[in-house]
């Protein structure tokens, strides 16, 4: 009897332990079938929502006005780039690219506005056929402002920052019908499935200067969050932000060659709120895809709207996304946001790792009989397309066209290149690939916010101070 009780206890313990480990290491695999609501309303609703109230409101402006203004200048550029991409004739792109970049750098460094602009006031033409894109962007910019403000507000104690940030994330997700997903970009990019679309890489190729301006912007935004994270609530926050800001001219002169992700430039904030960090990555990627679509010269505004609506919905919140929020790694969890380093400039990094992974997942299906050389050539083409500007030996046009030259018998489902259409088999293949690689990845641990950080303790822990950093950069 004792023996059987022991056996029963062991069985219960085994079952309990299995369930516990399952819950800890739950793969949270993507659903077997991906169904993105296909919707492209002909008449759009205005549908704007107000910000979350609390003690933090506008603290970011009050405390860091210069930094706030830099963000506002970047958002002017974002709005303006829509009409630039849509309205510039093919033969004037090079000149327009340089002019836009020159003007936006001047605005950022010398004339940064004190007003957060709405996209439509600087990209009014596109607003008239892609309003859902604009209100999605504006709403996520409001989330940016709210979360900067929560970290800026000293009356919110350090150990309450997560609670308030989580509240801001809930407000962002629940009040709006098209919020960006809190799932990592690895997931949403596979859902969006844009790599084989005819517009893929168009903005990067035809507007290399403007494109890299936004790569600087996507370094700057997370660098400011991370400066707040290492500065804490006291005056060290100002100091850390000023030191991070001091790198802006350097970043503009030596620009990143890829979109930097939150996990790379703000690992601590990503650990504080992976949902919020992923929302920003998903917004920044949406910016890039939207510019690609608008630059593509062979679709009408109505077709572009259809495709934008598809991408907006594919990268928006889907039930269950929150369970995937912490499924990523932070490659440099102790990086110093006050330093602008060579690894930030390289074309190789997290963003392009995702793109290469997706290509590897797709290749067996679209090029089943490809030789080793063809695969190597295809990958070389991908790297060329991922690098801003037209590279030596890179055929102009889409990545799909480039692949057709390498593998004329490439297999594609008919119609999937068309606006608003997606390739569900390919999306599911890629999601399966992600599940195999990352579903068992331990979730990113939450940042302990029990003790307020200090810059001194960071230096003692081995992080280099800014003067040393400048020496290193020289």
């Amino acid at each position: 009897m004792n023996l059987s009780l022991n056996a029963a206890a062991k069985s219960v313990a085994i079952v309990f332990a299995t369930l516990l480990s399952w819950s800890i290491y739950t793969p949270h695999a993507a659903r077997a079938e991906i169904k993105i609501k296909k919707e492209s309303p002909k008449v759009e609703r205005y549908d704007r929502v107000s910000f979350m109230r609390g003690p933090h409101v506008m603290k970011y402006f009050d405390r860091h006005e210069k930094t706030f203004r830099h963000g506002a200048a970047i958002h002017v550029a974002h709005g303006k780039a829509h009409d630039l991409a849509q309205r510039t004739p093919l033969d004037q792109r090079e000149k327009a690219d340089q002019k836009f970049d020159r003007e936006m750098v001047d605005l950022l460094l010398n004339k940064a506005p004190k007003t957060e602009v709405e996209m439509r006031t600087y990209g009014p033409y596109v607003s008239q056929f892609a309003w859902d894109l604009y209100r999605t962007i504006d709403w996520t910019h409001v989330h940016h402002d709210q979360t900067y403000s929560i970290l800026s507000e000293p009356s919110i104690p350090w150990n309450k920052k997560r609670e308030w940030t989580d509240k801001a994330v809930r407000h962002y997700l629940e009040k709006f019908d098209l919020p960006r997903s809190p799932a990592p970009l690895d997931v949403t990019m596979r859902r969006a499935g844009t790599m084989m679309k005819p517009y893929f890489g168009y903005f990067r190729t035809h507007y290399p200067q403007s494109n890299s301006y936004f790569y600087v912007a996507h370094w700057w935004h997370p660098a400011i969050y991370e400066a707040q994270m290492i500065g804490g609530n006291d005056q060290e926050q100002e100091k850390a932000i000023q030191q991070a800001e001091a790198n802006l001219p350097l970043a503009l002169s030596m620009r990143p060659q890829r979109m930097l992700l939150s996990r790379e430039i703000m690992p601590r904030y990503s650990a504080l709120s992976p949902e919020s960090a992923n929302i920003f990555d998903n917004l920044h990627m949406l910016h890039g895809i939207a510019y690609d679509i608008l630059t593509y010269p062979h679709w009408t505004p109505a077709q572009k709207k259809t495709e934008l609506d598809r991408v907006i919905r594919a990268m928006s919140y889907q039930p269950g996304d929150e369970k995937l929020a912490r499924k990523f790694r932070t490659p440099r969890h102790d990086m110093d946001p006050r330093r602008y380093e060579p690894w930030m400039i390289s074309v190789e990094g997290e963003m392009n790792r995702i793109m290469v992974e997706m290509m590897n997942e797709m290749m067996p299906h679209i090029m089943p009989k490809a030789t080793r050389k063809m695969k190597k050539d295809a990958m070389a083409q991908l790297w060329q397309k991922l690098t801003p500007g037209l590279q030596d030996g890179e055929p102009p046009g889409s990545f799909h066209d480039a692949l057709l030259k390498i593998s004329p018998r490439m297999v594609m489902m008919s119609g999937t290149m068309e606006p608003g259409e997606s390739n569900p088999i390919m999306m599911q293949t890629m999601m399966k690939g992600w599940t195999e690689k990352y579903a068992m990845l331990p979730e990113l641990p939450r940042m302990a916010m029990t003790r307020e950080p200090s810059l001194k303790s960071l230096q003692m822990a081995g992080m280099v101070n800014t003067s040393e950093s400048k020496e290193a950069q020289k």
């Binding site: 008449v43 205005y46 107000s50 009409d83 004190k114 009014p124």
Partner: protein, 259 residues
């Protein structure tokens, strides 16, 4: 001697005055044009869902009799449903004469039907009622307005046209007063830079008194003073016999964050 209507106006002013100086407000409604801030034209877009906003208008006008009239209008606005807003205003008037209607409560609801397309403008309907709580006020005055907005931009220079067509009813019209009348306003909006908007409009309105019509041309500037405050200044001139000679307006808008 203070009448109860004046006392009511004073109470409304005292209740809302602290909001003028409250630091816990945020104006993110810079592009959303409101009637009277600083000129009559209003766009077809409501305030954001769940936004609570306080607005203030201080207006003076010189009549054809060369008298100056002053008006202070505190307004509370609330995005009570998606694409819809409610407005509560209590204009307090300081006229040389009897200050008729000063302290009337004006309640309005606006609903927007769509965001504009490349050809299709944005449309909204606004319904309102003026409740005769003010000085010497008699009848209820319902009103309905169609608001139309269309962006003209074909590049990144933001400019737009707006049309407001209002029907106004005077339920207690005297023998020499109109029972129904109209007010048409055509306006133009132009962004100068991120912080400044220029507005212009042309308004034709049938007055309460029969055979009287007024025509007014206005120009104004909306300036985002800082993220907390939108300030507006405007002026107008009349160009027919019954129109005001001149009018000037100061206005502001702030979103309330204390509740």
């Amino acid at each position: 001697m203070m009448t109860w209507q004046n006392a009511f106006g004073a109470v409304v002013f005292l209740i809302t005055a602290p909001l003028f100086i409250s630091p816990v407000v945020f104006a993110h409604d810079h592009t959303n044009l409101e009637r009277g801030i600083p000129i009559e034209i209003e766009d077809a877009y409501p305030t954001a869902f769940e936004n609570r906003e306080f607005q203030g208008i201080l207006r003076t006008r010189r009549t054809e009799e060369k008298n100056y009239e002053y008006e202070l209008v505190p307004i509370l606005e609330y995005g009570f449903i998606r694409n819809g807003e409610l407005e509560l205003a209590v204009p307090v008037r300081f006229l040389p004469g009897e200050n008729n209607d000063s302290g009337n409560i004006e309640l309005e609801a606006l609903y927007n039907f769509n965001f504009e397309g490349l050809l299709l403008p944005a449309f909204s309907l606004k319904a309102g009622i003026e409740i005769p709580t003010g000085m010497n006020a008699t009848g209820w005055a319902p009103a309905a307005t169609l608001l139309v907005s269309k962006t003209l931009s074909r590049g990144s220079w933001f400019h737009a046209l707006h049309l407001n067509a209002a029907w106004l009813r005077n339920s207690d019209a005297g023998i020499d007063e109109r029972l129904n009348r109209y007010r048409i306003t055509l306006g133009y909006e132009l962004r100068l830079d991120p912080n400044n908007m220029v507005l212009m409009d042309l308004q034709r309105e049938q007055q309460k008194e029969r055979k009287n019509e007024s025509n007014l041309f206005e120009i104004g500037l909306r300036h985002q003073w800082n993220p907390l405050t939108v300030l507006a200044i405007g002026t107008g001139v009349g160009f027919s016999d019954e129109s005001p000679d001149f009018r000037a307006t100061l206005g502001f808008q702030r979103s309330i964050t204390i509740f």
